[in-house]
């Protein structure tokens, strides 16, 4: 009903690049490839973006018609733009959509008129705090038109007889999004979401698109416990539309996170879900703590990205948000300075590795029960203990002891890992060794 798989256009013959192969360089190339497209919450920019992703992952591209009621909202008319400019009296394009798609206020209605600077002025937007950058502005729900330009250019505009043209259309059409489902042994799901509605802005959010695509490639190659649902959706209205259409299905979502602004040079930042103590929140906190690098955990707040929708009180899904530098905390945010050179391959790479580790934690997080709970088992019998006594315990031995001590059927492996403050690879290895020795058995 609400999804049709499209074939890959033009790229189907070439093998998909492994986006995790070269420390983020491949993800960065994808960011650069998608950067010129003029995305919005609807329209051909989103379609072109999803079509390009089909070269990497087998997305379902879904189209939802304008006018459909989705919770308190209505799917809007589809917006497309071909050209836009402001010409001066000499006929020169002084502001030109073809030079930068941020020059046009998103969802601008068509116009073709001559006017004075005074008439034009209320339709011009700039950012005096960053006078060389073009700001990003939209007007999705109030029909108007406008241009964005650098404050330096705005201030230099002379009185003149300007020709103002926006060759756009705002008509009934569709809202487009991409969805990829990777089946695991359980029908319980992990939701990973990114937004695809921003025009030429790189960290916000081509970085999220690139990391989500790389994650999908990695997960597709694995045996999975959970089913993974990756969304490439327009922000807000896309998430609302998806949630309204999938309402009966939302109970399947056991964990999730939104990926946004994940390519800059800042440290990782995880914003917890509305629940605050969901397993996904615990997993991200543990993985970031164990990373040995700087990080930040933010409390939930009802502003940000699509976690706003997933964490509305009626849904209250266990969905957090992974960022590096959060929106609004880097000056380039929502300006022309958020371009591909602002995004760093190593930032994308680090984000991907952290997400893969977090997913590995979630995949392997269970409750076990120690089968020899009366005093310690004699680990030497199972080949799990050094034979020469009197020395300190290694981290691996500590992992064994923590797992045995706290595996009482109440604590999860993640509870134990956090308490032990040991790296995930040691905890996972020790869990497997204790399972192999039949000293642990699944409690649920």
């Amino acid at each position: 009903m609400h999804g049709t798989t499209r074939g890959k256009a033009g790229t189907s013959a070439a093998p998909a690049a492994d986006l995790s192969a070269d420390h983020g360089e491949a993800m960065h190339r994808l960011v650069t490839e998608l950067y010129p497209l003029c995305r919005s919450i609807t329209g051909d920019g989103v379609r072109q973006t999803l079509a390009a992703l089909l070269a990497y992952i087998p997305l379902n591209v879904c189209e939802v018609p304008s006018g459909m009621e989705v919770f308190d909202w209505t799917v809007p008319q589809e917006w497309n733009i071909r050209d836009a400019y402001i010409k001066n009296g000499a006929g020169e394009r002084v502001v030109d959509f073809r030079a930068h798609n941020l020059h046009v206020v998103g969802y601008s209605t068509p116009i073709n008129a001559r006017m004075t600077l005074a008439e034009l002025r209320p339709h011009l937007f700039s950012d005096p705090a960053h006078p060389d950058w073009i700001p990003y502005r939209t007007s999705y729900y109030k029909e108007t038109w406008g241009f964005c330009l650098s404050h330096r250019q705005l201030e230099a505009l002379p009185e003149d007889d300007y020709q103002v043209v926006i060759d756009s259309s705002l008509e009934p059409g569709h809202l487009t999004y991409g969805e990829l489902v990777l089946r695991g042994s359980s029908t319980d799901e992990v939701l990973i979401s990114c937004h695809v509605c921003h025009p030429s802005l790189a960290n916000d959010n081509l970085s999220g698109i690139a990391v989500a695509t790389a994650l999908a490639q990695q997960l597709a190659a694995r045996e999975l416990r959970y089913t993974y649902r990756l969304l490439f959706i327009p922000g807000t209205i896309g998430a609302i539309t998806w949630a309204a259409l999938r309402q009966a299905h939302l109970g399947k979502i056991k964990h999730g996170f939104v990926l946004t602004c994940v390519g800059d040079g800042g440290h990782p930042t995880y914003k917890v879900s509305r629940r605050g103590n969901a397993e996904i929140d615990q997993a991200w906190r543990y993985v970031l703590q164990q990373s040995g690098a700087a990080f930040e955990i933010l409390p939930f707040s009802p502003f940000g990205y699509d976690e706003r929708q997933f964490c509305s009180p009626g849904l209250n899904l266990p969905v957090g948000c992974l960022m590096r530098t959060p929106h609004g905390k880097f000056p380039e945010y929502h300006t022309s300075a958020d371009n591909p050179s602002f995004v760093r391959p190593e930032g994308l790479h680090d984000t991907l590795q952290l997400a893969l580790t977090t997913i590995d934690v979630i995949e392997n997080n269970r409750r076990y029960r120690n089968q020899k709970p009366m005093c310690e088992p004699r680990l030497g019998k199972y080949g799990l203990y050094s034979s020469i006594g009197g020395q300190s315990a290694s981290d691996y031995q500590m992992a064994l002891l923590w797992l045995l001590n706290m595996s009482d059927g109440d604590h999860t492996v993640l509870d134990i890992a956090e308490r032990a403050a040991l790296p995930w690879d040691l905890i996972k290895q020790a869990t497997q060794a204790l399972l192999a020795a039949e000293l642990l058995k699944a409690a649920d």
Copy 2:
């Protein structure tokens, strides 16, 4: 049985001054007006004080007879004093009650005798740490007499033939207190209490009397949800007497606070109730945090003012204590240096404003339920959102989003205000806007 309203004596024709009108000056004038009266836990000093307050608020003045059993206590005999002095051999009053009523130990029994310095000495009290100040001492429950004087004066007293006179009476009579009830739409009550038993001491507690009187004036002019009960009572025995008489009524008290030492130059200090997490504790904490100025929150302890009685384990009322600098933390405490010049108009004013805000929080604190809980409602439809997107949210928009996100029937407006860390006026305004838009409805 336990309350008789008296007419205002002499002042009934004059319009009552608005004690909140001039940044605390009017409250300070009330402190100065009441300062000379010789209050104690019983007697005419309390009656004169309450009579003076009748010029401002329509108090009920209640009289409870000596000898009445009140819990583990007995209402004491009534003490009155007309004159007291120590004359030297030359007939000069070297210590004179008329110069300062702190010179006499409270509840001193009558005496008229000649004696040597050695005989007099055990009845003299001074404070070597503050040699110029007269300390405040009482002996309510052991019949004795005594004088307080500055340590400098005490040390300079020569051997002499002293005449010692205390013209007091300690006889069956009454304990007197004032009570004012302001009816709200609910019979649930807020208790506000101050003590009226200290003689010429200004911060402790004419400041509390002045702020409580001003609060009563302000509340009397409002539509109230709760019923407010303001007590002007002698410390300890007054509170115990009131609680014993009102025992069946105590369950109506849902919130409360004691006002004491609220006029000095220090920052506000709130001592939480024995419950520790009562709504009144939460409200004071939030209001002080949002004030932007220094403040302190103290844990409950079983020493202090009448919160000791209200928070005894058998009552356990949700009653905290608001102070500025706490008793015992300013050197002037319980000495002649706690005079009207120690109390500052701006301190009284700030206390009053904080108390009014806290009461406004309590009055408006309810649980609501978001009527569009599935994803966010489209606030633009209700005129509640800026139409040009891409910019940061204002504090007002954040207040709207927090209220919508957390109004799930579990969280109160105060819970949300604390979590959002936004000022009360924004939260209140946003709540009203969401109610008007029917996006929130009362959950209880």
Copy 3:
């Protein structure tokens, strides 16, 4: 079945020294007396140690046969050693068990052979980080032999024709431990445990043996509420053996702690039980906080001493561990530098006093109910309040007020003491005064 009382060998006529009498000197003499014995997890060294303790306390000495199955373990063969050395080609003992019993790896199998340095080398253990000290090594569960020596000596060993002799035996025998039960009015028990399996090592754990012995002497002279069970057991296998034999009895243990490394110059360190909030954990935390000296509280971890066994998930006893400097945190740990001069009389004394106070807290910790819970009782009636008012409350008055305020049947005396942050002697004295005045009565 598992215990036989032995007579005191040779010392029964002499009166037992009071180990608490002289600020730790007597306990230090006991450490020095026991230091030369070559203890291990079985064998005559443990027997000699327990026999020496019989001069101080009437221990039961228990013998458990080799081969008995105890949970996941088996009681090992008994190890005894008479002599051991490495002779060089000149016939000189270059490494000599008689010089220091740490020279032999614990549980070394017998050997008598000539070999080159290259053949000998894999059997030699040293600690390059501390080149002058002999390290302590064992091999209980893998049959091998070895020598420990200073790294400086190891590096200086020339090529030679070495004669290597270990005159030991590893044969079926017994595991030996000591147990002392002091009966209280209740059959509920307090477990106090120390390990007796280390050869010439002083802080780890002759200090624990000395303090446990002194505690036993002190407790034997008192009227006790709880029954006290003191264990002098080989580490790990001794605790496991005891727990397996006493399995049906473990439910009687309401509190407990392990004593180890309690004689060095560091501050006291208490490691909480696995439960984390057991009454014994609370008592130790309170006593250390009230001590006024530096201390540390460690979270539970599944490494350390016999709390590992007592806090295994199947037992989960409320047993913590008291140390001064924890194992592994002092460089002398498990080396020849942990000798009697490393242990200080004042460290032993301080540990003993803290343990006695903690036990006094546990003995007197109950829930009471205030018999005058409506407002405060009039303390003056009971002789519990100063008659001259207006002054600050003393700590003793605060103790009275806290006990009255919080004795609602829910809070224990220890809860109140912690909350009041007052010393134990004041709390205890105030409790007794309020009981005498019948203002408190036992709630359970």
